[in-house]
């Protein structure tokens, strides 16, 4: 296998995984590098997916297992690409494996370390978008691949202060003796023919729209938080509730951080209309008596089955009101959403017990690191720039480097998958060339 032609895939969300799988299935090697302790990316956080209402983790987990077990895929989780040299056909890549402080060969995933961690339930869980908590020793979610625990060195008392009580309880408790605080980072060098960038997106920070009081009111949450709230494996086991108060009125607000020039995000985030429609449906399903209102400006139900789903959600007594709400404030123990209903041409106040902000997709905070590393450019919107918006949507100006998924711009899952497969095709083409013979002269 050492001589196998290989491609590096950066980022193991749904796009990166799909690209790696196609490459591996075609008989080539894929190195899949993921920053987080587990593969899966954003899709792992979602509850059901629009418009078919497939349970996200039910369709994703088998895919993750296939990636984890594929003989042609080598996974580097909790790792980052730190150096790239060379050019198409012969990139030399350095990957930094961050210390997990756990010997993954010994770890059985039993979870006793997490149980005994002194910081248990004291750190906001990234996976649950701060709606749940974890310890320094943790597994991001139960279906993680690899099924191994990680000690988060940025919080762990042992790593930060050199001591944790008399003796670190996680290490004392681990039956497999897998915990190793002396573990150091490791640099792995790889040679690859092509590189696929699938680094994804960041969710928009709703605090940048102060008029909605996100971070001030607990009943104002983001679309991503709603996914965790609604997920059977989430902090409320799928119940739509924030505390003991009953939820009678749910208001969804679209375009939070999208189509917004004042924030430098003039673009449409492409997924919010539909994920909101889906979430409105889930509320209807779980709270049949709730009043559900969606505020929209233009309803963008453009994909296969989307308009039909939008039709269905309206039929389910979800009220769509045209208007972009202007602010949220408190009245008694309820929230008031103030807007103009532009079809009534009247200002309105809607009381709500739960407000869900359809936050958009923004370029990742670390996008500059990636562009620096790979010499990529960024479009006006901040996402990575493709080499031609029409003809080469998955290629870059750098030969041999391709873009998959939301790092190039917002996309839904099928579009991300299609684009990922497109990059796989390009990589397969490169890896199929007879050695020492560039593609152009192939005859």
């Amino acid at each position: 296998m050492g001589d196998m032609e290989a491609t590096l895939v950066i980022g193991a969300g749904i796009a990166g995984m799909q690209a790696a799988l196609d490459i591996a299935d075609a008989g080539f090697k894929a190195y899949l590098v993921e920053k987080e302790p587990s593969i899966g990316g954003r899709m792992a956080q979602l509850d059901e997916t629009f418009p078919t209402l497939d349970c996200s983790s039910c369709i994703l987990t088998p895919q993750m297992v296939s990636v984890g077990g594929h003989p042609n895929i080598e996974l580097f989780t909790y790792s980052e690409v730190v150096e790239v040299d060379g050019s198409a056909g012969q990139f030399k890549v350095k990957v930094r494996k961050k210390p997990r402080y756990i010997d993954v060969d010994k770890c059985t995933g039993c979870g006793i370390c997490a149980e005994n961690c002194r910081l248990k339930d004291r750190i906001d869980s990234e996976f649950n978008v701060a709606m749940g908590r974890r310890g320094a020793a943790y597994m991001p979610f139960p279906q993680a691949v690899p099924l191994k625990y990680t000690i988060d060195g940025e919080h762990c008392l042992m790593i930060q202060r050199g001591k944790c009580g008399k003796s670190p309880p996680c290490r004392d408790a681990c039956p497999a003796e897998a915990i190793d605080f002396k573990q150091a980072e490791e640099i792995v060098e790889l040679e690859v023919v092509a590189i696929i960038v699938a680094t994804g997106f960041d969710p928009f920070d709703a605090q940048l729209k102060p008029e909605y009081g996100y971070g001030v009111y607990e009943d104002v949450i983001t679309g991503l938080q709603f996914e965790r709230l609604s997920s059977a494996s989430g902090p409320t086991f799928g119940e739509i509730k924030l505390d003991e108060r009953p939820i009678k009125d749910v208001v969804f607000i679209q375009c939070v951080g999208s189509r917004d020039r004042t924030l430098g995000n003039p673009y449409c985030s492409r997924v919010c209309c539909m994920y909101t429609a889906k979430q409105a449906h889930l509320v209807r399903e779980k709270l049949p008596e709730a009043r559900v209102t969606v505020f929209y400006t233009d309803m963008r139900a453009f994909g296969k089955g989307f308009e039909e789903f939008y039709d269905r959600v309206r039929e389910e007594r979800v009220l769509y009101r045209r208007g972009n709400p202007s602010e949220i404030y408190r009245r008694g123990d309820r929230l008031v959403v103030r807007a103009e209903d532009t079809l009534l041409a009247k200002p309105i106040e809607m009381e709500a017990d739960l407000v869900v902000l359809a936050i958009g997709l923004v370029p990742r905070e670390d996008a500059d690191d990636v562009t620096g590393l790979l010499h990529l450019s960024r479009s006006g919107d901040g996402f990575f720039m493709e080499s031609h918006p029409k003809l080469r949507p998955t290629e870059t100006e750098v030969e041999g480097i391709f873009l998959a998924g939301c790092c190039q711009g917002p996309k839904d899952i099928p579009d991300a998958v299609a684009q990922a497969k497109a990059t796989a095709s390009s990589a397969i083409v490169m890896m199929s060339q007879p050695k020492d013979k560039p593609a152009a002269d192939q005859e």
């Binding site: 102060p210 375009c255 020039r261 400006t297 949220i328 404030y329 532009t342």
Partner: protein, 372 residues
């Protein structure tokens, strides 16, 4: 501005996608028929808007919420001001506003006060004229110069300046209305005329640094006096600096619960949110509490944009009433403001609504002056 042009030609509205965020946030939209989103739409689809008979145009306080909220960088308030300009040019203007404009033209203030009395408030306070040379020009403004209540604010500020040993002077009888509101009621010609005079005055006095009492003066100097190359600060910014670098020290205590109302022209329009709070929180003894609607989500007092000079179409309902309810709900003894308009509007509303016994409305600098 040429009024033979259509509204669509005079205002840049094509970016509008009719999302309604402007009208949705407009503090007046519930109490009057004013709907700025719809005015924009009419301008877009009809090409022009005829303002005849639209009394609600005078309801707008030009608080700037519509501009702040617009995701497409349209400035909805421009439509209202442009339509007012048409009305002003056609002489269709509420009499009280017309009087105010005439007064500004004749006397340099909107209140029919004598220009020579403009500096009377400062008598005996040891305030020098800027023409004698000073680091800072204290631009007092019309209301603090003439209004009994607001003169206290100017005096308090003078006290603070002296205490901190600030080298400052005033324009005295030479000072004229900044014309922020003149511009907002649509009298563009008068605005330009006064701006020119004022600018000449500034340069003849070699002014390098202006501190204003009013956020309105601060706003127009900062954003609308073209070519004005002078550092302009609202007093809260300047005083916060004085406290920060130790030049202004407190000697007493104020054992009160205080909340703060953001003036639109300071907060929403110029993003000065932190300095007023910083001053209040640095006063010994003060327990500072935030209301629900603060900073970017603050309410309008309903005094700006020329509303000081006219009643509007619905004088019965006052936005200030709900503001007082909020003050009470956080248990504050004092609502601090940082704007002469807010101070007067709330004072009036407090008396009308019977809140004056429960809540004290005062300017931040008056609180400061009590404890230095």
């Amino acid at each position: 501005m040429e009024t033979d042009q259509t509204i669509l030609e005079r205002c840049d509205l094509w970016g509008c996608i009719q999302c309604g965020k402007c009208t949705g946030g407009c503090p007046l939209s519930f109490k009057t028929t004013l709907n700025v989103r719809r005015l924009i739409y009419e301008a877009l689809v009809e090409g022009d808007v005829n303002p005849d008979g639209m009394e609600e145009l005078w309801d707008c306080t030009t608080c700037g919420t519509c501009v702040l909220r617009c995701p497409k960088e349209v400035e909805p308030v421009d439509v209202i001001v442009a339509l007012r300009t048409e009305l002003v040019d056609g002489g269709i203007i509420p009499p009280t506003i017309r009087d105010a404009l005439t007064s500004v033209f004749r006397y340099g203030n909107p209140s029919l006060m004598q220009p020579e009395e403009r500096a009377d408030w400062a008598e005996g306070l040891g305030v020098k004229s800027i023409s004698d040379g000073a680091d800072v020009l204290y631009f007092v403004g019309c209301i603090p110069s003439y209004d009994d209540r607001v003169q206290k604010v100017a005096k308090a500020l003078v006290k603070a300046f002296h205490k901190a040993e600030v080298d400052f002077g005033i324009l005295g009888v030479e000072e004229k209305c900044c014309c922020n509101e003149v511009r907002r009621v649509g009298e563009e010609g008068l605005f330009e005329y006064v701006v020119e005079e004022q600018q000449e005055l500034f340069s003849s006095c070699n002014v390098e640094h202006i501190v204003t009492t009013s956020p309105h003066c601060f706003n127009t100097f900062t954003n609308e006096y073209e070519g004005l190359d002078i550092k302009v600060q609202h007093y809260t910014q300047f005083v916060a600096e004085l406290i920060d670098n130790g030049k202004l020290a407190f000697t007493g205590e104020l054992n009160k619960v205080v909340t703060y109302h953001d003036p639109c022209f300071l907060g929403k329009q110029n993003a000065v949110y932190d300095e007023p709070r910083k001053i209040l929180q640095s006063i010994p003894g003060v327990e500072f509490r935030e209301m629900d609607r603060t900073r970017d989500r603050s309410l309008c007092c309903e005094g700006g944009g020329g509303r000081m000079w006219g009643e509007g179409t619905n004088p019965e309902e006052r936005l200030a009433t709900s503001r007082f309810e909020e003050v009470l709900s956080v248990g504050a003894d004092i609502m601090a403001v940082a704007c002469p308009f807010c101070l007067l509007t709330f004072d009036l509303a407090a008396k009308a609504g019977g809140y004056d016994e429960k809540v004290q409305v005062t300017d931040i600098i008056e609180l400061v002056a009590e404890v230095i």
